[in-house]
Amino acid sequence: MSDKVIYVMYDDDEALKDSAKKLVSKGVKISEVFSPFPIHGIDPIIGIKNTRLGIMAFLYGLTGLTLATLGMRYFMVTDWPMNIGGKPNFSYLDNMLAFVPISFEFTVLCAAHGMAITYLLRNKTLPGMPAQNPDPRTTDDKFVMEIRLNENHGISEAELDEMLKETGFFELDKKEIN
């Protein structure tokens, strides 16, 4: 199915945000925004939900804490209860305090790396991936909005052009994609 993509470029983050607000209020669906830095407040306008990576970080941290606890219990209590000065580790709780530092470090290790890996996978940013931004200037000082005609059935191309013109864009580019 062929589709037409319109890339509308702005030279200011506030300008893009203002025009996105106007376009959305007129029923235009904006499918993507590319910017060199985070534009605060753009997400609710174009309908992007907040990421759930924070929950994942918590779960990874919990995994780390569990692994550290089980591991140290096995090493120090079950498998080889180290007898120091006639005081072996009879139970995990007996010796809990000595296990706090490593439990903490391992929790942080798992939470940080688990989240970072999930982040890279979800973003599809991995070593050697090709760049997907429509214009190299979007990592410098330009801000681009992507609108797909297929996602805007109620609005004709001419109507859309008219609306975009009012927003005072910097550049406009159209592409046919299959």
């Binding site: 506030e14 925004v33 590319f34 910017s35 060199p36 830095f37 985070p38 534009i39 605060h40 753009i42 997400d43 174009i46 992007i48 907040n50 990421t51 990576l53 924070g54 970080a57 941290g61 591991g71 140290m72 090493f75 120090m76 498998d79 080889w80 180290m82 120091i84 000595a98 296990f99 530092p101 490593i102 903490f104 470090e105 391992f106 942080v108 290790l109 939470a111 940080a112 790396h113 989240m115 970072a116 982040y119 890279l120 979800r122 973003n123 599809k124 940013t125 991995l126 070593p127 050697g128 991936m129 090709p130 760049a131 997907q132 931004n133 190299p136 979007t138 990592t139 410098d140 000082d141």
Partner: protein, 462 residues
């Protein structure tokens, strides 16, 4: 857009646009390196290679080539280890703790401070490894099932806690740093003209495209990593101090050690950041982004942490007398008046007196004076660790075992060598990596840029 008070000094001087920020940060990477860079790199490389030579000699011959003896089993190696780990702490403090406190001035310095952290922790990690003597069995510190029976590493030991702390700290700092670097590598990739550098930066940029959803995730990941790194950075130096505090050596088993070590670490780390940044901003033309205000903020941190360290020194002295334990008292009397009195008093002068000079606004805003003090603090903090370690053990309970530590030329060579290697890494970083978090700096341009703050529209409500 966030506004700030008009009387607050702008963080970005001059009339910069978003594009100017990209230009200013990327130009030193794209241009040919200046002659000075090659000179410095050459010097650092020679010193670093000399250090590598000393390490190889040490590994081939044994720990006996150090100035250790049967009374003093730890001296320069652990001093250098603690010194380097301490220096590392400033980077994480700037990027994580200041992020949680929403300090915008951190953005100009966090990238290079984090790079400094990572290279400093590399250097720190080297010392316990070579102190093992048999470097090739270094993996024995990991809890691995082994062929010698079901014997595990000792999870009750602070030395093992240190293994976990340092490796977690190094790898988490590395990830935190790299996640921030990805968007900036994308900027360099999209500007690159030469095919080789385009290819290299494409690989490094991981295909970053700056979609709104990516930025949404980016901000959360930065925040959560900062939240994780903050307790981590405090735990790491606390655990380093446990190496001493959990022992029974007078002068070491002090409950004040964890907070005192953490404050000392931040103190020395900020001093090293000052040393590096004062040179870098000049050499790379970044005076508009890292200026007197940033230096002043960092000097205030040095002043506060320096005062904490000073208080800790005096508390330690008081407690050694108040405890009534004669061994404890002697350890401190010996520090101040024994054969290592010069080390003790250099430490006191460098770490207690010099940061107090920062109360004077004129001095803490002077770049030359700051540079001088930063070197003094680094020397002082090295002596602090030397004093704590060597003076506490050189006079044993049995006077027949009393001894002195004299560094051998291998001791000195390894230490100087790590400084060389550190600068090799740092110079490579300054040459090929964006030294400023350029895309993050763009987010504060409208709120804290000079031209925006001075424009008549700034204080109007939208």
């Amino acid at each position: 857009m966030q506004k700030e008070a008009a009387i607050r000094e702008p963080l970005i001087l001059g009339h910069k646009t978003y594009h100017d920020i990209t230009e200013d940060v990327c130009r030193p990477i794209e241009d040919k390196a200046p002659k000075m860079w090659y000179t410095l790199f050459g010097i650092a490389l020679i010193i670093g290679l000399y250090g590598v030579g000393c390490i190889l000699y040490l590994l081939g011959t044994g720990i006996g080539v150090w100035g250790l003896n049967k009374t003093i089993g730890w001296a320069w190696d652990i001093t250098n280890f603690v010194w380097w780990v301490g220096i590392g702490h400033a980077g994480t403090l700037i990027s994580a703790v200041l992020l949680l406190f929403r300090q915008k001035w951190r953005m100009a310095i966090n990238r290079s401070a984090e790079a400094m952290t990572i290279f400093a922790v590399f250097m720190a990690g080297l010392f316990p490894l070579i102190h093992m003597g048999r470097l090739w069995v270094g993996y024995w510190v990991l809890p691995l099932p082994n062929q010698f029976g079901s014997l595990w590493v000792n999870f009750n030991s602070p030395l093992l806690w240190d293994v976990f702390a340092i490796s977690t700290y190094l790898s988490v700092s590395l990830v935190f740093w790299y996640i921030g670097l990805i968007p900036d590598f994308a900027t360099i990739r999209d500007r690159a003209k030469k095919p080789l550098s385009k290819k290299m930066y494409s690989i490094l940029a991981f295909g970053w495209s700056g979609r709104a959803k990516n930025w949404n995730r980016f901000e959360l990941v930065s925040l959560v990593l900062a939240g994780l790194a903050t307790p981590l950075v405090f735990s790491v130096h606390s655990i380093v101090s446990f190496d001493f505090a959990t022992s029974v050596i007078p002068g070491w088993h002090t409950t004040i050690f964890p907070p005192y070590f953490v404050a000392g670490a931040v103190f020395s780390g900020f001093a090293m950041v000052q040393t590096l940044l004062l040179v870098m901003r000049k050499a790379m033309g970044l005076e508009a982004y890292i200026h007197t205000k940033h230096v002043e903020y960092m000097n205030i941190v040095i002043m506060v942490t320096g005062s904490i360290v000073g208080t800790a020194y005096i508390t330690e002295l008081f407690i050694s007398w108040y405890s009534g334990v004669e061994y404890e008292s002697y350890a401190f009397i010996n520090r101040a008046t024994g054969p290592y009195w010069w080390a003790y008093w250099s430490m006191m002068t460098c770490n207690v007196i010099s940061p107090q000079l920062m109360w004077i606004p004129k001095l803490r805003r002077s770049l030359l004076f700051t540079f001088f003090i930063s070197i003094v603090v680094n020397i002082g903090m090295w002596f602090e660790r030397y004093v704590i370690i060597v003076t506490s053990i050189h006079r044993d309970y049995v006077p027949a075992a009393w001894s002195m530590h004299f560094p051998s030329h291998i001791d000195i060579g390894v230490y100087i060598g790590t400084i060389g290697l550190f600068f090799v890494f740092f110079l490579l970083f300054a040459r090929f990596f964006p030294v400023l978090a350029l895309n993050e700096v763009k987010t504060i341009l409208k709120g804290s840029g000079q031209s925006y703050k001075e424009s008549p529209d700034y204080h109007k409500h939208h």
